[in-house]
């Protein structure tokens, strides 16, 4: 029931609170499924809700996931099972001792898998996003604004009004800086090659490497700054 006015677009920028990167602020314990929580739960609320609930039974987490479905969480049955295992174990009544070594991510990183676990909830399997809610990645010229641009968005999120192929969006994408440098490079490469996006690739356009992502990670930006960066590239 909204009656949005142009004024709001200005306010959106003025009033956005300065919040640090999500993964930095809310450090979830290591474990399989952690990144699914980072990827899916912050669309609607920040992870303090999850951390403050730490210690509840697996059955209670199960019920929470049902409730979250009512509130808009869309995950596959496999993803749900992984998230429930993660929450029930690592945020359950008897979590394994904290401070363990980081779970080594072994094996080759698959950009398609990263997309499926992290991006699909908003941008959809067909890359078309959702009108007025989440911008499309299919046919999105922003992918080739600059070699590093999509990686900057993935690392820092983006906030502010944008237009993609004449569709307007004004939502907030949270940072996905919990993904590794390799994962971000892989998913950017994947997205740029899917849904016919390849055809829009300018000649000689370089691909972002894990090392590039590592460098970008050392220069964190607010989501609003990323929006300003986009504007500067559009000029």
């Amino acid at each position: 029931m909204r009656s949005a006015s142009a004024l709001l677009i200005v306010l959106a920028l003025v009033l956005s609170p300065g919040m640090g990167s999500a993964a930095e602020r809310f450090k979830l314990p290591e474990g399989p499924g952690r990144d699914l929580v980072y990827g899916h739960c912050q669309t609607c609320h920040d992870l303090q809700s999850v951390l403050d609930s730490a210690g509840i039974r697996r059955g209670a987490w199960d019920a929470v996931l049902d409730n979250m479905k009512d509130f808009g969480l869309r995950i596959s049955a496999d993803q749900r099972a992984t998230i429930l295992d993660y929450l029930g174990t690592h945020l359950g009544p008897n979590p394994p001792a904290a401070g363990g070594a980081e779970v080594a991510k072994t094996g080759p990183v698959d950009g398609a898998k990263v997309f499926e676990d992290t991006c699909i909830a908003c941008h959809q399997a067909d890359g078309k996003g959702s009108p007025g809610e989440f911008p499309p990645l299919a046919g999105n010229p922003d992918l080739f604004l600059a070699p590093d641009f999509p990686a900057v968005v993935a690392l820092n999120g983006i906030e502010g009004p944008i237009k993609v192929n004449d569709q307007s969006f004004n939502k907030v994408m949270p940072p996905f800086d919990f993904l590794s440098d390799t994962e971000i490079a892989a998913v950017v490469k994947y997205v740029r090659s899917q849904w016919g996006n390849d055809a829009a690739r300018p000649a000689g356009f370089g691909e972002v490497t894990p090392d590039d992502v590592a460098t970008l990670r050392k220069k964190p930006m607010t989501a609003a700054k990323v929006h300003a960066y986009r504007e500067s590239l559009k000029k």
């Binding site: 709001l8 640090g20 314990p29 403050d52 210690g55 004004n170």
Partner: protein, 417 residues
């Protein structure tokens, strides 16, 4: 976690709700990691409020802040939003009033099973007679953290500061609906209210609340345009908020845009699953947060009778010897509160407190009692009773519920003198 004795529970409650139940150590690190301050999250809020969720602007008022004011000012009043205050919803992340243009173009659609749907503007509401209602506004989840002494429940771990005493002013609802001459159908049994705010994803349930049209609570309801004498701040539901005095916070729909006469209550998850209390006592593991149905539970309507100690608080550094214990009490406003009893010795002896006449049936009552603090630990308790004989359970855990609503157990404060 085993059920604690009342004494043990008192000790836990005395640490003001911190770290109840099983809290893995990493959970605490979240507070050390530079989480934003309340004043950064909602422009105009006081610094140092207790934040439960930044993205949803959820915060409560530390009691030391809350007790300073007779009417809780917008700067310190607790807050709860249901959807992120970001993007095109960023306008309401402030205690300032909503943008002028927006207010000018604001409409409330009154529709549903009626012969003549209507649309109201703010100017039309302003032109009608206005009435004041001083009422406690309280989050249904206020005190949720105390349930952890039986078994922790998911969600923001509210202490006692999810409440405030607020003066509202606006247009009486029933008279307005009559004057609109809409001729509702006899099949219309429910009134559903919806606000401007929208879920973060297209699949999310919109926020809506439904009330039985016959509910006496609606007799006192207003479409409020003012809070504490000025236009309602955006974050507290401006430009117009449905206020049903004495009802839990969620029933008082913010940023009102729609009122519907309907045969059934809204299917919104916020009405059908969320913000409900089981009809009969439930046990952890036997009844989960997804087991609520329209048949086995009811929405959180009127405030369950409650009293809270405002002074002394643990941080006041009270000395042994004579002390004045003060606090507030309130109920749903349907009958007066008759007694507040206070104990300074963990419930062995109870004294009647002096209870002041409240400003309105729904406002909070101030009470005070003289007592003596022994050196060392003292457990202070208070319990209110109303003219219907409704009182607070000595053991609030008997009302444990998997969503952690409506805590009204006898308040415990542990003071080391």
């Amino acid at each position: 976690m085993p059920h604690l004795s009342r004494r043990e529970f008192g000790k836990l409650a005395g640490v003001a709700g911190l770290a109840f139940g099983v809290t893995p150590s990493f959970a605490r690190s979240v507070f050390a990691a530079g989480a934003p301050d309340s004043a950064e999250i909602i422009a105009g809020k006081a610094s140092g409020m207790l934040v439960h969720n930044a993205k949803l602007g959820v915060m409560e008022t530390p009691l030391a802040m809350l007790r300073k004011y007779e009417h809780t000012p917008k700067e310190v009043l607790f807050n709860r939003l249901h959807f992120p205050h970001q993007g095109d919803a960023a306008w309401y992340a402030t205690t300032a009033v909503p943008p002028k243009d927006m207010v000018k173009n604001w409409t409330i659609r009154v529709d549903g099973l009626v012969q003549r749907p209507r649309t109201l503007t703010i100017a039309e509401l302003q032109a009608r007679p206005q009435e004041k209602r001083v009422s406690v506004l309280q989050c249904a989840g206020n005190g949720r953290s105390f349930y952890a002494a039986k078994e922790k429940v998911a969600g923001g771990q509210w202490k006692n500061g999810g409440m405030g005493n607020v003066e509202w002013e606006g247009v009486p609802l029933r008279a307005l609906l009559e004057d609109l001459k809409m001729s509702p159908s006899a099949a219309a049994q429910w009134l559903t209210a919806e606000g401007w705010d929208q879920p973060a994803t297209p699949e999310g349930s919109d926020f809506a609340k439904s009330y039985e049209l016959s509910d006496k609570g609606l007799d006192n309801a207003i479409l409020a345009l003012k809070m504490n004498g000025e236009p309602i701040p955006a974050v507290h539901g401006g430009p117009v908020r449905l206020i049903i005095p004495g009802f839990y916070g969620n029933m008082n729909v913010k940023m009102l845009t729609v009122l519907l006469f309907e045969a059934e209550q809204s299917p919104s998850a916020f009405q059908s699953v969320g913000y409900r209390m089981p009809n009969s006592p439930v046990e952890p593991g036997q009844f989960e947060a997804n087991d609520y149905t329209l048949q086995n539970s009811v929405p959180t309507y009127g405030h369950k009778i409650k009293s809270v100690i405002f002074s002394p608080l643990p941080e006041d550094g009270a000395k042994s010897g004579p002390v004045e214990i003060t606090g507030v009490a309130f109920n749903d406003g349907t009958v007066p509160i008759t007694d507040v009893e206070v104990s300074a010795d963990d419930g062995k002896r109870w004294e009647k407190a002096d209870v002041k006449k409240p400003e309105s049936p729904w406002a909070w009552y101030h009470w005070s009692a003289k007592a003596k603090l022994a050196s060392g630990k003292n457990t202070l308790m208070c319990r209110a009773t109303d003219a219907l004989g409704r009182t607070q359970p000595i053991d609030g855990l008997t009302r444990w519920n998997p969503r952690g609503y409506e805590w009204n157990g006898v308040d415990h404060v542990e003071i080391t003198a």
